[in-house]
């Protein structure tokens, strides 16, 4: 029967791509369901080779686009070159309940792995132990030692350029050669080392290939990643995991497949398959499998299980404790400082580095760095540059020959560092289903309640202060602090909703990402997160996915999932 597979993977983004690769490589016939269109690597990167003058509006967003896409168009870097990889807000509405929440989505094969920021940082036991130590939320059911080999495993495939630093709070990984800092960043690094020995400025750890890797890349330093890279210079499902899955002969990829529910057999206590709605024909179709991986994104996966109602699970599949959808988190950012450096006017750089510098967390990591005003911590991304016409046009006075000459010359050196902070899990930050509003396929809209709270606000004050303090110590002038409060979701690091835990009464997933009580259903995207740490989360989703696939297949072989 063409409708039955060994495994079904729901979603083809960064974690779904990994599930597809791992399950296919382990010999399982695997159906990957993607709700959006297909995006073929290289062929469908339609803007990748366009020059600035090939775009109608100088890459700016039109008023019409802003009106039609009030959420997606707010994304940093959303422009004429990459907007095809974001959903249309009008076509894909959701409900903002208490507090604003920007839900940024890419409904296509590859999902947001096409447009992600590509920064890859490991978590450490500082993160995995924090909830238990502080009595916040629930304890993670895993520790660093459980995930470390899987970080190794995914890093070896992804290809991550980075610099080992030997920091316990930010473990080193398997790195390709690091990218270079520019002159001012190097100066900044030295100054910080001198003035703040406990703080470290390192080059970003990025899934951009600093040399050819597994048949992909290397990165060409065009800094046009979000258009899709025809060189395979960065990791995406499209460039990396899905082609490997396809090559096994075990992959069936079905775009335009919106999962309406996961089917459940109450006697076996197992998920038996899924019911989809074909996005184009609106036809309802069922597919069956022995094991199901749910990788439809934090809010997408949570919504699917909330929609999967049965007599046994009237509040959603596996939602026996009423906690499904709760403890939604996102990082908070856009707080830091910027400054100008007077000097080094004979220094410049060449190429466009698609990467930042990074200042790993230095607060609340031991007794000496403990804070009384907030828990957890933040890291900074930052970069130094010589201002170009884009920055200078607004500040250079006048016009005419002198203006033109200045505008087209390298401007002053400037730096900006921007903190990314951990957000604590709060029960009232949640995903639920709208009681009355439905999408065009008749499925209930996701409703999101979200707000940051005092721990985040206290952390922001400190992050702003520390940023300015470092820039001043490093000799920058005109140092100015900034704190642009953005809604939840704006960092596009939303996670939680189906947190992992040790106790089925207080969590949804166990330490192997299995849904408590439905052992053949694995959830390995951002929704599984028990806390948010402050590191960019995708690498951890990838490692958890590979780990769960390994476990799932070994359990399947033992007959424990049937």
């Amino acid at each position: 029967m063409g409708q039955t597979y060994d495994a079904i993977v729901i979603g083809s983004g960064i974690s779904g791509g990994w599930a597809a690769k791992e399950l296919c490589e382990k010999g399982l016939s695997t159906l990957v369901l993607e709700r959006g269109r297909n995006v073929e690597h290289v062929k469908d990167y339609t803007t990748a080779f366009m020059n600035p003058w090939d775009f109608e509006h100088g890459l700016r967003v039109t008023e019409k686009d802003k009106a039609e896409n009030p959420i997606q168009s707010q994304v940093f870097g959303y422009n004429e070159g990459n907007k095809q990889f974001f959903v249309n807000d009008k076509e894909h509405p959701y409900v903002q309940g208490h507090g604003a929440f920007n839900w940024v989505r890419g409904y296509q094969v590859g999902g947001r792995s096409l447009t992600w920021g590509r920064l890859c940082y490991r978590w450490s036991d500082l993160d995995f132990e924090a909830n238990a130590k502080e009595g916040i939320g629930v304890d993670w059911p895993i520790r660093y030692k459980d995930i470390a080999p899987w970080y190794d495993y995914v890093e070896k495939f992804v290809g991550i350029s980075g610099q080992p630093e030997g920091l316990p709070q930010l473990p080193d990984g398997v790195f390709l050669p690091p990218m270079e800092m520019n002159f001012l960043e190097k100066h900044f690094k030295e100054q910080i080392k001198k003035h703040f020995p406990e703080r470290c400025v390192t080059i970003g750890r990025s899934a951009n290939l600093s040399r050819g890797w597994n048949g992909r890349g290397p990165c060409q330093f065009r800094n046009l990643c979000s258009r899709g890279c025809p060189f395979g210079g960065y990791f995406s499902s499209n460039s990396a995991t899905l082609p490997v899955a396809l090559a096994t002969g075990n992959l069936t990829l079905r775009p335009f497949s919106i999962v309406a529910e996961v089917l459940y057999d109450k006697d076996k206590k197992r998920a038996t398959g899924v019911r989809i709605i074909d996005a184009m024909t609106h036809e309802s179709i069922e597919f069956y499998a022995k094991v199901i991986f749910l990788n439809a994104s934090t809010i997408g996966s949570t919504s699917i299980l909330l929609q999967s109602k049965s007599a046994e699970f009237p509040d959603g599949l596996g939602n026996t404790n009423g906690l499904m959808g709760r403890f939604l988190m996102d990082h908070h950012e856009r707080v830091g400082a910027e400054g100008v450096y007077h000097g080094f006017m004979d220094e410049y750089y060449s190429g466009r580095r698609p990467n930042t510098v990074y200042i790993p967390r230095f607060r609340n990591i031991d007794a000496a760095t403990a804070r009384t005003d907030y828990s957890r911590g933040f890291g900074y991304t930052g970069s130094a540059m010589r201002e170009s016409w884009n920055e200078q046009s607004a500040v250079l006075p006048g016009f005419g020959p002198g203006f033109k000459n200045q505008l087209t010359s390298p401007g002053p050196w400037t730096i900006q560092i921007n903190a990314w902070g951990e957000t604590l899990p709060y029960a009232e930050n949640k995903v639920s289903l709208s009681a009355d509003k439905k999408d065009r396929w008749g499925l209930p809209l996701a409703e999101i309640d979200f707000s940051f709270q005092s721990n985040e606000q206290h952390m922001r004050k400190d992050a702003k202060h520390c940023a300015a303090e470092m820039l001043s110590a490093a000799g920058f002038a005109d140092v100015s602090e900034f704190d642009y409060q953005a809604p939840g979701g704006a960092s596009i690091h939303e996670m939680g909703g189906m947190r992992m835990g040790r106790d089925p009464k207080t969590s949804l997933l166990n330490g192997n990402n299995q849904l408590h009580g439905v052992k053949n259903l694995f959830v390995t995207d951002g929704s599984c997160m028990t806390s948010s740490a402050c590191q960019n989360p995708s690498l951890t989703y990838m490692a958890l996915t590979a780990r769960a696939c390994d476990y799932a297949v070994s359990e399947l072989k033992k007959g424990n999932l049937g």
Partner: protein, 191 residues
């Protein structure tokens, strides 16, 4: 777009200060602008763009087609209030040239053109000083600010601007963090 520019731009969007505007002023800002008027000013916009970025050892903005670009941007990428300010500004400028020099802007000398545009730059500055950043969002951008922004954007993203006035490297292939600047070296066209 570079992150820094984006954050700066974000700051303009922040803050919910709303000025209460008088009835006539409110109408002038919010009325549906007659965008077809822009086509009437196509030649003027070419000349104005060339005053802002004239030809030197590289082509000027007029040759780079920036006048047409400005029209497209005012039509498609500009809020209604700034559109009204822009069309009003063009009318004012054409009138100012006639009144002061008895001829059209296009017939004016370089010196006269410079004087005319300086007048409108000063007007924009006093407007901004008076209102500050957040309030200027409420009243839209002044004519000169919109004009200059789009001339710069249009020129620096045009082929002549990017490849001749600036340096454009389509596929750098590598990143070198420390490079000595050579005298007269142009800035990179893209970040």
């Amino acid at each position: 777009m570079h992150r820094r520019t984006a954050v700066k731009r974000l700051s303009l969007l922040a803050g919910g200060v709303l000025l209460s505007l008088g009835g006539i002023k409110y109408y002038q800002l919010h009325k549906v602008p007659d965008l077809s008027l822009l086509d009437k000013y196509r030649a003027l916009l070419g000349d104005l763009s060339d005053t802002i970025i004239p030809a030197s050892d590289s082509p000027g903005a007029k040759e780079a087609g920036v006048g047409d670009f400005v029209i497209k941007m005012v039509r498609d990428c500009t809020d209604r209030k700034s559109q009204n300010n822009f069309i009003g500004g063009l009318k004012d400028l054409a009138g100012y040239a006639q009144n002061k020099y008895g001829k059209s802007y296009g017939q004016c000398t370089v010196e006269e053109r410079t004087e005319i545009l300086s007048h409108f730059e000063k007007k924009a500055k006093s407007f901004s000083r008076l209102l500050g950043k957040v309030e200027s969002k409420v009243e839209g951008d002044p004519f000169f600010v919109t004009l200059k922004n789009y001339v710069v954007l249009g020129y620096c993203t045009s082929k002549p601007g990017a490849t001749q006035a600036l340096r454009y490297d389509f596929i750098p292939g590598k990143y070198i963090g420390v490079v000595a600047l050579t005298p007269g070296q142009r800035a990179w066209a893209t970040e």
